[in-house]
């Protein structure tokens, strides 16, 4: 996977599978600390201690269609390749939170890529978890919250594809703007 936003999509699909009703994705870029961090927090079923301990092992999975679970181990490898790390906290019935840290200027760090497409797909999931996306570039912040969009939409479903396209454009422009302002 050559974009971090593809890993994010994959990790968030775990949250969806774990029946999360809210997934928060927080990206923080700090030039001062030279860090690029991704936090993914869900309120899903969580994992017991044994599962949690084995979750970064590629030969562990609770899925039945295949013997290897790859998602988390791939993300961990991507982090370690650029001098970063991945940690996971989880509690049964409470939820799971995953932190992935990269060196901002490391040449082996994949770009974030099309995060707006990732979020659009998450919102189109039949399970329909809400998504909060927060992107921080030094002191500038962009926030998207699907619950706010739903309020505006009244009885129109969030999965209306014209709405999805609006959301995609809003996120793309929002992130572009904070990067632009930052370089001014």
């Amino acid at each position: 996977m050559n974009e971090l936003s593809l890993h994010i999509l994959d990790i968030c699909q775990n949250s969806t599978k774990a029946n999360a009703s809210l997934i928060s994705i927080i990206i923080e870029e700090s030039t001062k600390k030279n860090t690029f961090t991704i936090d993914i927090i869900d309120n899903g079923d969580g994992m017991d201690k044994e599962t949690l301990e084995r979750v970064t092992d590629p030969f562990f999975t609770t899925r039945t269609t295949r013997k290897v679970g790859l998602g988390i181990s791939l993300f961990k490898m991507a982090a370690e390749q650029s001098n970063g790390f991945l940690t996971i906290l989880s509690e049964k019935t409470k939820g799971t939170s995953l932190k992935c840290m990269f060196e901002l200027n490391n040449i082996d760090r994949a770009p974030l890529g099309k995060i707006e497409e990732t979020i659009a797909i998450l919102l189109l999931n039949a399970e329909g978890a809400d998504i909060v996306y927060k992107h921080v570039v030094n002191d500038l912040i962009y926030i998207f919250d699907s619950r706010e969009v739903k309020e505006v939409l009244e009885d129109v479903p969030l999965t209306d594809l014209n709405v999805i396209v609006w959301i995609k454009d809003n996120i793309k422009e929002g992130i572009l703007n904070i990067h632009k302002e930052e370089t001014l």
Binding site: I121, L124, V149, L153, V165, N170
Partner: protein, 121 residues
């Protein structure tokens, strides 16, 4: 910037359209979106469907991500459901997605080149 006013316009237009929609006359497009699918390029494929459907204003077609179908080596996998008829496509890229859209979803003719049987044999 895509503004709140734009979103409200979309809402108002959608509210007017609702009454014209049939019960089950929709086509459903399912895109395999587990690790194997994502690695093989399922996200741009799904995005392509979203774009094509909105461009043509086909509000009876839905597109939904689904989990693993267990055929990792022939991902990305796309299923098209029209009424009772289910067609499974594999190794779909943006070009094939465009063909599925024009030839199958709009034209009603299955794109034989990418149906799953061809790859399982």
């Amino acid at each position: 910037m895509k503004s709140l006013a734009d979103l409200k316009k979309i809402r108002d237009a959608a509210q007017k359209k609702v009454t014209m929609r049939g019960k089950n006359d929709g086509t459903r497009v399912l895109v395999g979106m587990a690790t194997c699918g994502i690695s093989a390029g399922a996200r741009p494929v799904m995005n392509k469907f979203v774009e094509l459907i909105t461009e043509k204003n086909l509000d009876t077609v839905t597109v939904t991500p689904v989990g693993c179908i267990g055929e990792c080596s022939i991902e990305p996998i796309v299923e098209v459901l029209v009424g009772e008829q289910r067609t499974t496509y594999c190794r779909v890229d943006e070009k094939v997605a465009e063909r599925i859209f024009t030839e199958h979803i709009i034209g009603g003719k299955v794109v034989e080149d990418n149906i799953i049987g061809k790859f399982r044999l």
